[in-house]
């Protein structure tokens, strides 16, 4: 794999006694969409949360191994965690717009990060909404309450909110699980644009979505990384019989 943005080495993780991830080794390439897929409980969400240290406050857990972002261990002592989370944005399954208008949702992050210049904030607003494939739909509704948008628009608004912080990596955990097919298609389309600039990791909501969006696909099963392949190979000619059984719907 060329130019890995994130390198995961010998990563094991457990909640109390229960192992959620076992000796994961995986490179996530820059400027591509990498999909983590597999039956629920496989450890996909856990791995995403570990990549931007969202699990730091969960008690009774145990982690071994390393996660490197641009070659640097994100769990090394002295790492600035808020800064890490600006570099690595996360979008969750359920759209969670903040109270307030569409505009406020997008610019509150940059404002908290210290950007005060009005023109600069407007620029960020338009760029982020455009990258999330939402600008055309909301450019005349910027001062409407965010909750007045449709579910699909709210989810793209959440993506725009992450993009406003100019992250390098975008983590998306089943971002379209509650959306209708048209909104889903729009979110997927925006991924094609976004990967030109960002490193994207997505947990898709179906195997079909994984096949549509992934440049690299990794199959997780009960804490193990079973198989990683480039392109659609894992969906046409998987190498491991467990992957084959899962993608053909024989279990899971």
């Amino acid at each position: 794999m060329v130019d890995a943005k994130i390198r995961i080495r010998q990563l094991s993780y457990s909640y109390g006694g229960a192992e959620a991830l076992r000796e994961i080794n995986l490179d996530v390439p820059a400027n591509a969409v990498t999909a983590f897929f597999g039956p629920s409980g496989g450890g996909k969400t856990t791995l995403l949360r570990l990549i931007n240290r969202l699990n730091d406050l969960v008690e009774g857990t145990r982690m071994q191994g390393t996660i490197l972002l641009d070659g640097e261990n994100i769990y090394a002592p002295g790492v600035d965690v808020p800064r890490l989370r600006r570099r690595v944005g996360m979008v969750f399954a359920l759209p969670l717009p903040l109270p307030g208008t569409v505009r406020e949702n997008v610019v509150c992050g940059p404002r908290l990060a210290g950007i005060r210049d009005w023109g600069r904030l407007e620029e960020i607003l338009e760029r982020s909404l455009a990258q999330a494939a939402l600008w055309n739909e909301v450019k005349d509704r910027l001062d409407d309450p965010a909750v007045a948008l449709s579910g699909g628009q709210q989810q793209r608004l959440c993506i725009a909110r992450s993009l406003a912080l100019e992250p390098e990596v975008l983590l998306l955990d089943e971002p379209t699980s509650g959306l209708d097919p048209i909104s889903t298609a729009k979110v997927e389309e925006s991924l094609f644009e976004l990967k030109q600039q960002y490193t994207i990791v997505i947990v898709p909501h179906s195997v079909q979505q994984a096949a549509r969006v992934a440049d690299y696909a990794a199959f997780f099963l009960m804490g193990d990384l079973v198989e990683v392949q480039e392109g659609t190979r894992i969906f046409t000619t998987p190498q491991d019989p467990r992957t084959e059984d899962y993608v053909t719907g024989r279990f899971g």
Partner: protein, 221 residues
């Protein structure tokens, strides 16, 4: 597997086997009509070809529906794509049987050409090849696919030998030219049957192994 989708895949397999069975009968009968100079049998083959065409269309419909509704993956996807190719090869094999039936009809009403052992071998080898091919598909047996590919070379050679024998004969027997040409076309039809058998064997390898061995029948893993 008992999901609706996998039941329908099994149904598709059964329908293709039915089409394969009818095609095999058509070829067997065409060869018999030729060698036994049986005009009635030849007519029966021509009359029943539409049944095979109907099955091909039904198979296309099933496959399109499964592709659209179930968006299959991996082996299931390869099975559907492979079946689409295989049913089209079967349909063309059946067309060759019809063409042979037409030649058999003509030749049966004219004085017999001398018995040519090369044409006899060609008939038997291409028929054997068809049997092995259909069993290769029915059992998705990759080893048999290899056998089919090897038999294709023998068929090509027998076709050339038949052609040469018939040309030699026609050079000396001008009145036999028309019959000779019909016999040459017959041999060519047999060779086409063998080519489609090779395609089917390649599709079986694609379904089972996911590798494309088209146009190079080399040993594969």
């Amino acid at each position: 597997m008992d999901s609706r989708f996998h039941q329908e895949l099994e149904q598709l397999r059964v329908t293709i086997l039915k089409m394969a069975n009818l095609t095999e009968k058509a070829v067997e009968n065409a060869f018999r009509a030729l060698w036994e100079r049986d005009v009635q049998l030849a007519d029966a083959i021509i009359a029943r070809d539409h049944e095979i065409d109907q099955l091909e269309m039904e198979i296309d419909r099933i496959i399109l529906r499964l592709l659209a509704l179930d968006q299959p993956m991996a082996r299931d996807l390869r099975f559907l794509v492979g079946c689409m190719r295989i049913s089209s090869d079967l349909e063309r094999i059946a067309d060759q049987a019809v063409s042979i039936a037409h030649r058999a009809r003509y030749l049966s009403t004219r004085p017999a050409l001398p018995k040519d052992p090369a044409l006899r071998d060609l008939t038997e080898t291409s028929l054997d090849m068809l049997h092995v091919t259909l069993s290769c598909f029915a059992n998705l047996n990759v080893d048999q696919a290899m056998d089919v590919c090897l038999m294709d070379d023998a068929v090509d050679e027998l076709n050339l030998l038949t052609l040469k024998n018939l040309m030699d004969y026609m050079i000396h027997e001008a009145p036999a030219i028309e019959r000779g040409v019909q016999a040459i076309i017959t041999a060519r039809c047999m060779e086409r049957v063998a080519d489609h058998c090779t395609n089917i064997a390649e599709s079986v390898v694609f379904i089972v192994r996911g590798v494309n061995i088209k146009h190079h029948c080399e040993p594969f893993q």
